[in-house]
């Protein structure tokens, strides 16, 4: 066909590419990320906050909880498979997700959009906090596996630094926020709450749950920094932890 060419034609840039229907594996990686956030990470978070709450009962009670956890079979395998690896995956893939999104709350200051943004910030805060928390408390200093009775004192020493208290409070709140909104998101995106009303109702449930977790977390921080157990012992011997119905002061 005949054409008449015009001089210096411009080219329109490439934009967002169409859907690659059925191609690639990103679906599986995304959904794995999503699922791991609930199970086991979320489940562990709940367990961990409840366990920590035992600290309000003092060094002995706290030591007992730690010892109980230590007594689980193959505890090292469990913590790698169900805690460290999932958290690493969830955190690193989450960063990847974050980097590819482009927040626009400046133009669209709607609540869902704010929550989208806060989910990313709380995620990165919680992830950074968890990394330092695990390194400091799990892999450095006295081994709590060998000395569960030292758990209380170890935390107390960490939190003797007011900066660390601030970091723990922020990290704790970020984790609770990220988890409770994450549960809501999970339900919305997996189609468990497909209607506007069901999402709103479930939103209340998630807020309540989040607040409860935050109270548990802050309560346990208080146990370590409050005056009640100011003179906690460096270590509570295992024999003492195992002694039945002991009420007296530590040795």
């Amino acid at each position: 066909m005949a054409t008449i060419q015009q001089p210096a034609a411009h080219t329109v840039r490439r934009g967002v590419q169409p859907l690659r229907a059925g191609e690639g594996n990103s679906y599986v990686w995304h959904k794995l990320h999503s699922l791991l956030g609930i199970i086991p990470i979320g489940a562990f978070l709940i367990e961990h906050l409840i366990s920590n709450f035992q600290a309000l009962g003092g060094p002995v009670a706290y030591g007992k909880t730690v010892e109980f956890l230590n007594s689980l079979p193959m505890v090292h395998v469990l913590e790698w498979v169900f805690i460290f690896i999932p958290i690493l995956y969830h955190g690193i893939y989450g960063l990847y997700i974050w980097l590819r999104g482009k927040s626009n709350v400046v133009y669209y200051p709607w609540s869902g959009n704010w929550l989208y943004l806060t989910q990313r910030y709380t995620g990165i805060i919680a992830f950074a906090f968890i990394i330092q928390h695990v390194i400091m408390e799990r892999f450095m200093g006295v081994s709590l596996h060998d000395h569960p009775g030292a758990a209380f004192y170890k935390m107390q020493q960490t939190l003797a630094n007011p900066w660390m208290v601030a970091i723990y409070v922020i990290g704790m709140l970020a984790a609770c926020w990220h988890f409770s909104y994450g549960v809501w998101l999970f339900a919305a995106k997996w189609g468990i709450t497909p209607g506007t009303r069901s999402r709103r109702r479930f939103g209340f449930v998630c807020v309540a749950g989040g607040v409860l977790l935050a109270v548990l977390g802050l309560g346990s921080i208080w146990a370590f920094v409050g005056p009640k157990y100011a003179n906690a012992p460096q270590n509570v011997p295992i024999s003492y932890l195992n002694a039945p119905a002991h009420t007296g002061a530590p040795v």
Binding site: M1, A2, T3, I4, Q6, A9, H10
Partner: protein, 592 residues
């Protein structure tokens, strides 16, 4: 022999219908559209689509539909094609239904039907108040399917400029311009189907979309095609006056029980809610007790005109009357009219559930268009036309909800006919005249780009719209029509001194518009002069000086052909096919 190549121009209901039929029959189609086809003007149709399915136990028949259509069109339409359309209508609805159009339903899960103007039957299938949108999408989806199977190639963002016609007078392709790169190109084809819609833009503001300029029809007309019944322009009784356009307020508002009224006392200052029933003038119901608010559009339009300009009863002295839905419960309104009420609320800022809408007639539709034979072919061999751009189905006035039907039926007809024609076509000699036609178009472009005048095309267009609306819509006087034609000639003169403020060669929308403007000016002469010559009143064409229909002289199709002379197009008249229904007086104040 290679498979025939068909070009379809226009991606509204008619164009897409043709494309689907051709693709289904094994042909390949190049589909040209200025806008992405899903944004075509068909999307604006609101009320519904007619078919005598008789699902309401009223004894409706396709014959009744045929009779209503012929009667509503004041007997000007050729009866054979109209009869075919009305008989095919129920199957068209079934097909659309199968394609997934979300028509409103009865509790039993069957199609629901509403009443529309010019009939006493519930004959209009509808999908809320956005039927055109839903129909267009259904066809768009089917075309997308054929496109993904490689049977259709879309050229969206290309504007048709002219047909390529060989030395034998046979169409061999088209020339078109890419509206982005401004590239000119010719495309060979064995047959061409024009489905380029309405001509609203020659009236400046209308209910039509921006692309409805009639430019393509006009181009073909200037290449030798007859343009028929151009003077028949439908003015919709209920539109929302606006700064940029007149927004349609669907006839379905009246179909669902909407009532048109004004306060009996001129200049009544009371808030609308405080005006008691007895002081409201429901003029359509009083003047036309049988059809009431559902008289045909030309009748309603003239009634509103009379109330405003003769009786001086326009709201607050303005050219507006009430269209009242406030007596209908909210659920029904939202269910059946949601889309259009939302439009009114968005653009006017008043909730029509609570307050009557203020409306006024606005230019809406052209019954006239390219002359075609019963096979949808124009007098240029190889060029077919379907949809609003041709003249065939509506006579002197179109009934509401018949346009969607005529588009789809016309397209379904034109597609296979074009394919058949193409199969029997002898190959072109050489390029069939493509290079010469392309050179002609390039010259037009060059001369526009180098024009060093003072006239702004958009201002010329406004002047055109003002004069056509004033003289060639509801009431027509020969003196005014003559003035209008002189004005158009003046505008054609001034067009030569046009100055493009944008001479760039990339996505130059005002350049494209300026090209369209020339064609609009040429076509508007057909409308105005056709009206001038028709000294009678028939359907939408109303001359107060000749208030009666004159079958002896004017029961004829007007056929205009381009001459290129200053005197304007040449007009001739053709007998109308009235073999089935004998013409009788058209009255809506009593049973017919």
């Amino acid at each position: 022999m290679a498979a025939p190549r068909i070009i379809v121009i226009g991606g509204g209901l008619a164009g897409l219908s043709a494309v689907i039929k051709i693709a289904e029959a094994g042909g390949t189609v190049d589909l040209f559209s200025i806008v992405p086809v899903k944004r075509s003007h068909s999307v604006c149709a609101q009320g519904g689509i007619n078919a005598a399915k008789n699902l309401k136990g009223e004894g409706d028949t396709t014959w009744q539909h045929f009779d209503d259509t012929i009667y509503g069109g004041d007997f000007l339409a050729n009866q054979t094609p109209v009869k075919g359309m009305c008989e095919a209508a129920p199957a068209v609805i079934d097909l659309l239904d199968r394609m997934g159009v979300p028509f409103n339903r009865t509790p039993e899960g069957l199609l629901d039907f509403r009443r529309f103007g010019g009939t006493l039957y519930h004959r209009t299938a509808f999908a809320g108040a956005t039927t055109g949108q839903q129909l267009l999408y259904a066809l768009d989806e089917q075309v997308r399917r054929h496109e993904s199977e490689g049977k259709v190639r879309k050229y969206e963002g290309w504007e048709f400029l002219s047909a390529v016609i060989d030395s034998q007078g046979v169409a061999r392709g088209i020339t078109a311009m890419d509206l982005r790169s401004m590239e000119l190109r010719s495309f060979p084809a064995d047959a061409i189907i024009l489905a380029t819609g309405g001509v609203g833009a020659i009236f400046g503001k209308s209910t039509n979309s921006v692309v409805c300029t009639g430019s393509a029809q006009s181009a073909i007309f200037q290449q030798g095609a007859y343009y028929a019944n151009g003077e028949f322009i439908q003015v919709h009784p209920t539109s929302i006056p606006g700064e940029d356009k007149l927004r349609l307020m669907s006839e379905s508002a009246r179909g669902e029980g909407g009532r048109v009224w004004v306060p009996r006392a001129a200049g009544d200052k009371r808030p609308v809610k405080q005006i008691p029933q007895s002081e409201r003038f429901y003029f359509l119901e009083e003047w036309y007790p049988k059809y009431g608010n559902l008289v045909p559009r030309d009748v309603a339009t003239r009634a509103i005109h009379k109330v405003v300009y003769e009786l001086g009863l326009g709201l607050e002295g303005q050219p507006m009357v009430y269209l009242d839905l406030t007596h209908i419960d909210r659920a029904t309104l939202d269910h059946k009219l949601g889309g259009i009420l939302e439009i009114y609320e968005k653009f006017v800022g008043v909730d029509p559930h609570l307050e009557p809408m203020k409306i006024f007639p606005g230019m809406h539709y052209t019954m006239g268009g390219l002359w075609v034979d019963f096979n949808q072919m124009t007098n240029i061999p190889g060029i077919f036309a379907a949809g609003e751009c041709e003249y065939q189905y509506h006579g002197a006035n179109r009934l509401g909800a018949n346009s969607l039907l005529s588009c789809i039926y016309g397209g379904f007809h034109a597609g296979p006919n074009a394919l058949n024609y193409a199969k029997g076509l002898q190959p072109a000699e050489g390029d069939g005249g493509a290079a010469a036609e392309l050179a002609r178009q390039a010259e037009i472009n060059a001369s526009l780009l180098h024009s060093e005048g003072t006239e702004n095309p958009f201002r010329l267009w406004r002047e055109l719209g003002k004069t056509t609306t004033e003289h060639a819509t509801v009431l027509r006087y020969n003196k005014g029509l003559k003035q209008a034609d002189e004005k158009i000639q003046d505008l054609l003169d001034r067009y030569k001194k046009i100055n493009l403020s944008d001479k760039s060669q990339w996505a130059n929308t005002s350049f494209a518009f300026t090209r369209q403007l020339y064609n609009m000016l040429q076509l508007s002469r057909v409308v105005v002069l056709g009206a001038l010559l028709r000294d009678e009143s028939r359907g939408a064409h109303f001359k107060p000086d000749f208030p009666e229909r004159n079958d002896e002289k004017f029961l004829k199709t007007t056929k205009a052909s381009f001459t290129g002379d200053v005197a304007g197009p040449r007009f001739e008249y053709e007998e109308v096919d009235t073999q089935y229904i004998k013409p009788r007086p058209r009255r809506y104040d009593a049973a017919k």
